[in-house]
Amino acid sequence: MAVATAKGKPRYRYQGMERTKQRAGLLFVAPALLHFLIFTSIPVFVAVGISFTNYSPLGGGKFIGIQNYIKMISDELFWTALKNTLVYSFWTVPVTMALALFLALILNRKLRALAWYRAAFYMPQVTATVAIAVVWMWMFNNQFGVINWVLEGMGLKAVEWLTSPTWAMPAIVIMSVWRGLGGTMVIFLAAQQGIPDYLYEAARIDGANDRQIFWRITLPLLAPATFFLLVTGLIGSFQVFDSIYVMTGGGPSHATTTIAHQIYEQAFQFTKMGYASAEAVVLTIVVFIITVINMKYVKSDADYV
């Protein structure tokens, strides 16, 4: 029974409604939570456990302590993969973000067929990575690829893209940047459209030019989106696998093998689940550290007032 209080709404009825809302909320998130627990949390803990064993899916496996982690320290291939992953992330994420921001600025104006342009740039995002990788593989072909055809047409020397340890990773980066442009651009676009017009009007009245408006208003106010894209971009780039698997298989000479690719090789080609799990744990820690560094040092709050 509701009891009137001196403060207004009856306390009992308010608490009852809160509980009902909470129950309804829990009920709705329950399936997703269950899914997360069963298919994400539990496997993660199991993987951590397996990383301390020499388990193989073909049979056998016993507890070996931190042997897998010790082996990783002296594993040249692991460090090569880690270095390649960092190089890939270092180039892909900022270049994608910069180009996407540039595109977002252009496509945030009144242009003819604007919707078509936006759709065209976004198309790669909804296309299967494997399909994209196969097409780019042919585009980068030394003899028949369209990229070398263009280079030679410009009087430049053809590049041994996917067969050269020097050029294979840049080729993968180029493909990844092209693919990631659309999704990043859409987020920047949305964030831009959230910036109040009166700020631009005020700036114009004060005599600011386009460059000043961009650096003093647009870019700072895009900070939350930038931060989000940086963090998610880094997390995603550290897990790059499918394009490398299709285009280079980690070669030539391990020039494009990444941690995720190594995890796959160790687990499914060499059946060393224990070692692969250890590498996965290390990857998780590296990604976690980078995310924490981002959150600590990259300011994401933007004050419109």
Binding site: M17, T20, K21, A24, L27, F28, S56, P57, L58, G59, G60, N141, N142, Q143, F144, E160, T163, S164, P165, G251, P252, S253, H254, E265, F268, Q269, F270, T271
Partner: protein, 447 residues
């Protein structure tokens, strides 16, 4: 407010019920409908237990190959009327995903009843007790029809686990007409040295003014293809492992010399550029007049017959011989799964597929080689000089594999050739590293 939350709850409950109903409706087996075709007064025979027989194969490829295997299984059913069998065949387009597939199946205790693996794979699977030994189940005269070095690949610790179904090899072939054009006598002897091959390949390599390769002196196809590299390796007197496969021998002086020769062909002699290809599917450089020598798969015989049969008389075949002759033979073996509930049936299917009549039908479709010596006189073989030579060279047959860790070692071997050609390591450094890594892997399997 209360009304809305009740509606939401009802809607959620309804969604749950619907999704449960949909899930329950999924799957389900076939319903048994009574057979009404027989007259009512006939006494029905005791129903045979229906077996679903699972098979996994990386051969019997393409539409024709798939159809052949399905036809063969129908014939098997007709010959084995005591069985009520439904075949569930999984076709793989090639070997590239076979290991991953089998590993995943093994982990889930779901290996197919009968599956096919490469020569050199037996040790890896038999050591994990995933295969059924065949001792006493294969007639001696059948075993005698295989080349010893080939059937030896089916053994692990003295027990037989696999029967070869098809073989393949790599041959050094050349175009007599193109050799004449570059001033080399086309009457090349049956055996040549590596030095001779290099000299002729260098002489016949053509590049344009900018240095771009126009005609390769030697089509090496893929610089990290170990199966093409083996002939150079073994002809130099090198071996992959010691006698009992307990130690790798990749860094012996002979092995380093052979690999240095391989690297020099590309880097120093420039008889081939990595990635040089016709760009036309199933058409090799030699067919397109873009290579004078080639390290060709025996399937080249089928390619020539199909695309340019007039070239057949221009093709010559030779073999490397320096300190020895080592002709690589790979192939596919049928094995029985230890996880199968139908091992007896699997054995019968395997024996059927491995029999002469079935083998020759398969190799004709795929352009592969029969593993049985008695099939060397079959018109399919005698009608193609490349295949005649391939069968003749079986007396020099050598195979890859040996230790249980071979599947991992071979990946490192490919990577080693890649590193050596790309200059990431010197040949000696690369082979030393490979030897050490291989020894470590072998030692791990002994623990």
């Amino acid at each position: 407010m209360l009304k809305i939350s009740r509606k939401l709850r009802l809607a959620f409950a309804l969604m749950l019920v619907l999704s449960m109903a949909l899930t329950a409706a999924c799957g389900g087996g076939k319903t048994n409908t009574p057979d009404t075709s027989k007259p009512a007064d006939t006494k029905p025979a005791a129903p045979k237990e229906k077996i679903t027989f699972r098979m996994l194969t990386p051969i019997y490829r393409g539409e024709e190959g798939n159809k052949l295997l399905k036809d063969l299984m129908e014939e098997f059913e007709q010959k084995n009327t005591d069985l009520n069998i439904e075949f569930d065949i999984e076709f793989l387009p090639d070997y590239s995903k076979l290991n991953e597939k089998l590993t995943t199946y093994a982990a889930g205790n779901m290996l197919p009843d009968l599956f096919m693996i490469g020569v050199g794979w037996i040790e890896a699977f038999a050591s994990k007790n995933l295969l059924v030994p065949l001792d006493g189940k294969v007639k001696a005269e059948v075993l005698a029809d295989y080349e010893k070095s080939i059937i030896d690949g089916g053994y692990y610790k003295g027990k037989l686990y696999g029967l070869p179904l098809v073989l393949d090899t790599r041959l050094i072939v050349y175009r007599k007409d193109l050799l004449q054009k570059c001033g080399v006598d086309p009457n090349i002897p049956e055996f040549i040295s590596k030095a001779q091959l290099r000299d002729w390949a260098v002489k016949c390599t053509q590049r344009d003014a900018s240095g771009k390769l126009v005609v390769a002196g030697l089509d090496m196809a893929n610089h990290k293809d170990r199966q093409r590299w083996y002939q150079f390796f073994w002809s130099s007197g090198a071996e992959l492992f010691n006698a009992d496969a307990s130690k790798a021998a990749f860094n012996s002086p002979e092995a380093i010399e052979a690999t240095q020769y391989w690297v020099d062909l590309i880097k120093k002699d420039k008889v081939f550029d990595v990635g040089f290809a016709t760009g036309i599917p199933n058409v090799s450089l030699m067919t397109n007049d873009k290579a004078v020598f080639a390290i060709a798969h025996n399937m080249y015989a089928a390619e020539i017959k199909k695309s340019k049969p007039e070239l057949e008389k221009q093709i010559g075949i030779t073999t490397l011989k320096d300190k020895g002759v080592g002709q690589f033979y790979g192939g596919t073996m049928a094995v029985l799964s230890a996880q199968s509930k139908h091992q007896d049936v699997a054995l019968r299917v395997m024996q059927f597929l491995a029999a002469k009549e079935q083998v020759i039908r398969n190799v004709k479709v795929e352009g592969t080689l029969p593993p049985l010596k008695s099939l060397a006189k079959d018109p399919y073989i005698t009608g193609a000089p490349i295949l005649v030579k391939a069968m003749d060279l079986m007396k020099y047959a050598k195979r890859e594999g040996g230790p249980e860790a071979w599947l991992e070692i071979r990946s490192k071997l490919d990577a080693t050739l890649d590193d050596a050609v790309n200059g990431k390591k010197t040949v000696k450094e690369a082979m030393d590293a490979l030897t050490k890594a291989s020894d470590d892997l072998i030692a791990q399997t002994k623990k």
